[in-house]
């Protein structure tokens, strides 16, 4: 009995510790290729992403049922952290190296977010997390196009900025 309790406590402690570790781990890498002399790299943890102003986007897309409530920092706010000079394109790279290029101007035109929560819950790696690029598809008719569908990169791991 005591052994089971100790095991439960130990498991809980391990989970808490593990969660703390997850929060501190790098979840997103920003790479700025706009500087011809030196490539700038910046790594971000989940805490840092959460520290940025959070924007909520309620939208559906081809990969979800209904219209969930996504939240996370705006793509433009995250890109601004590395202060790219004259960047025009952002390459959205996933954990499995899938990538899609998006014109950076879209980050200003639309409320594109790096969603880290869906309906208030953190996105897990098993469900397109920890970061999913979300365009407000339901708010703009022109976004209902396969080109924009391809930019809904889930399990986002890296942003590469180029001119």
């Amino acid at each position: 009995m005591l052994g089971q309790a100790a095991k439960a406590i130990a498991t809980s402690a391990a989970l808490i510790f593990s969660a703390a570790m997850v929060q501190a781990d790098t979840v997103l890498t920003l790479v700025d290729h706009t500087n011809q002399v030196q490539t700038e790299t910046m790594e971000m943890t989940m805490d840092e992403l959460l520290a940025l102003p959070q924007t909520e986007v309620v939208t559906g897309n081809e990969y979800v049922d209904g219209t969930p409530r996504f939240s996370g920092p705006l793509l433009r706010d995250v890109v601004a952290l590395i202060q790219p000079s004259g960047a025009t394109t952002v390459k959205l790279v996933a954990l499995n190296d899938y990538s899609a290029d998006a014109p950076l101007i879209e980050a200003d035109q639309y409320e594109v977010i790096l969603a880290i929560k869906k309906d208030g819950e953190f996105l897990s790696r098993r469900d397109k997390g920890p970061i999913w690029v979300i365009y407000p598809m339901d708010d703009y008719a022109e976004l209902n196009d396969p080109n924009f569908n391809n930019r809904l990169v889930w399990q986002l791991a890296k942003l590469e900025l180029t001119k």
Partner: protein
């Protein structure tokens, strides 16, 4: 006979219809291409392949973990397990996943894989550093899915192939349609070129014909003018002799005439004078036609000038006991103009006023001036003109009464000359007349010619 205008319209409408149809066809082609693109990411083949690849990677990670291969820890297995789960999740949600789920209705791989993922979740997450036996059991649960997922991938490949074939068929159909439309457009273009060429040739022929007819008309007109000129000249010489002879007869130089003879001579004199006037008018018109209207301007006093014109007309006025009254605001009005031409203008106007006034009538010449122009109005209380004739009064060879029995002589060119001379001075001339009340002709002229 081809209706060129109709043919051109038909050709243009055909080309427009062709362009609109082409636009729709291109639009349709674009839709087809977009549809083809939708098979790239999120399509059934892509989705099945993703799950299959992640399944193979997970199984490989498990096998290498069991084999204690370096770098393959339980964390690696968990990472691959999460990714496999994420791919399964994509297939289990949304419209995109619905495509694959529909295909999986018979094989039921997706459902079974989901059940296995959930069943093995605790086992996988609970793997420690050395749970090789447990890992083998997990591998045993997932390994059968490799061939089943591959079968599903093949089904998806067939479906995607069918979709691609449909798109290719669409594109082939569209390209055939475009080719036919191109042929039609080329045909219509050739037709249009032919129509325009034939039309241009036709127009050129019509223009040549018009030009030829114009030359013929001009030659005819010149011949007529030459004929009138020659005949008038030829008539004037014997006419002068005839009038001179009649004058001698009337004066009694050739002996006294009987009363009947005197009447006949008077009649011959009147007719001779009338014929002479007609010849003079024809010659004047011919001279006007052949000369240009170049003005020979000089400065003169309009008041004195009008006095001279009135004086020249006084004999004719006296014969009908008509008083010509001149009303002039100023004694001196300096103007710069062609006095010869203006003399013809005012003699014509005064002559008409006298001619169309009755015995004892009144003719008034009223002169008004300002800093830049002068207005001369010649008014009579004669027979006037009908309302219908007034608009034609300035036309050439025009008289209100052109019958043989008319009361007044002349060929009706006087006002035409008058208007031409006034316009040559940048002036205006207007006519106001009422039948049996009188006529007023008003001439406005600039004081100088710029």
């Amino acid at each position: 006979m081809i209706d060129w205008r109709l043919a051109k319209r038909a050709a243009i409408i055909t080309v427009l219809i062709g362009l609109v149809a082409g636009l729709f066809t291109f639009n349709s082609a674009q839709e087809s291409l977009l549809h083809a693109k939708s098979n790239h990411r999120g399509g059934p083949l892509w989705m099945a392949t993703q799950i299959e690849v992640e399944l193979l990677k997970f199984n490989k990670a498990l096998a290498l973990y069991v084999a204690e291969a370096p770098g393959y820890e339980h964390t690696t297995v968990n990472h691959r397990f999460d990714l496999l789960w994420s791919r399964w999740n994509i297939a289990s949600q949304g419209d995109a996943g619905a495509w694959l789920r529909d295909m999986d209705a018979e094989l039921n791989v997706i459902n079974d894989l989901g059940a296995t993922l959930r069943a093995q979740d605790t086992n996988v997450t609970g793997l420690g550093d050395t749970d090789r036996g447990k890992a083998l059991r997990i591998l045993g649960a997932f390994y059968p899915f490799e061939s089943r997922m591959h079968d599903l991938s093949l089904v998806a490949l067939d479906v995607a192939g069918d979709a691609e074939k449909a798109v290719r068929d669409d594109l082939r159909r569209i390209s055939t349609r475009l080719r036919l439309m191109s042929y039609a457009t080329v045909l219509v273009a050739i037709l249009m070129i032919s129509i325009f060429w034939l039309d241009a040739r036709n127009q050129a022929r019509i223009a040549d014909e018009k030009s030829r007819l114009l030359e013929l008309a001009e030659a005819g007109f010149r011949a007529k003018a030459d004929f009138i000129s020659t005949i008038s000249h030829e008539l004037r010489t014997p006419m002068t002799a005839i009038i001179g002879a009649i004058g001698l007869l009337k004066s009694g130089s050739t002996g006294a005439l009987s009363e009947a003879g005197a009447r006949v001579v008077d009649m011959a004199d009147r007719s001779g004078q009338r014929l002479n006037a007609l010849i003079e008018s024809l010659l004047a018109f011919e001279k006007f036609q052949s000369e240009n209207l170049d003005l020979e301007c000089r400065e003169f006093c309009l008041c004195n000038f009008l006095d001279e014109v009135i004086e020249a007309c006084s004999m004719a006025a006296a014969q009908k006991q008509i008083e010509i009254k001149k009303i002039c605001a100023s004694d001196t009005i300096k103007m710069y103009a062609d006095p010869e031409k203006l003399s013809q203008v005012f003699q014509e106007l005064l002559g008409n006023a006298i001619k169309f006034s009755g015995q004892g009538g009144a003719v008034t010449v009223r002169v008004l001036t300002d800093e830049r122009s002068v207005t001369v109005a010649v008014k009579d209380n004669g027979c006037g003109m009908s309302e219908e004739f007034v608009p034609r009064a300035f036309d050439k060879f025009t008289q209100e009464d052109s019958s043989d029995k008319r009361a007044f002589s002349g060929v009706g060119n006087g006002l035409f000359f008058t208007k031409s001379f006034v316009h040559a001075h940048n002036g205006t001339i207007t006519l106001d007349s009422e039948k049996d009340v009188g006529t007023t002709v008003t001439v406005s002229l600039p004081l100088t010619q710029s």
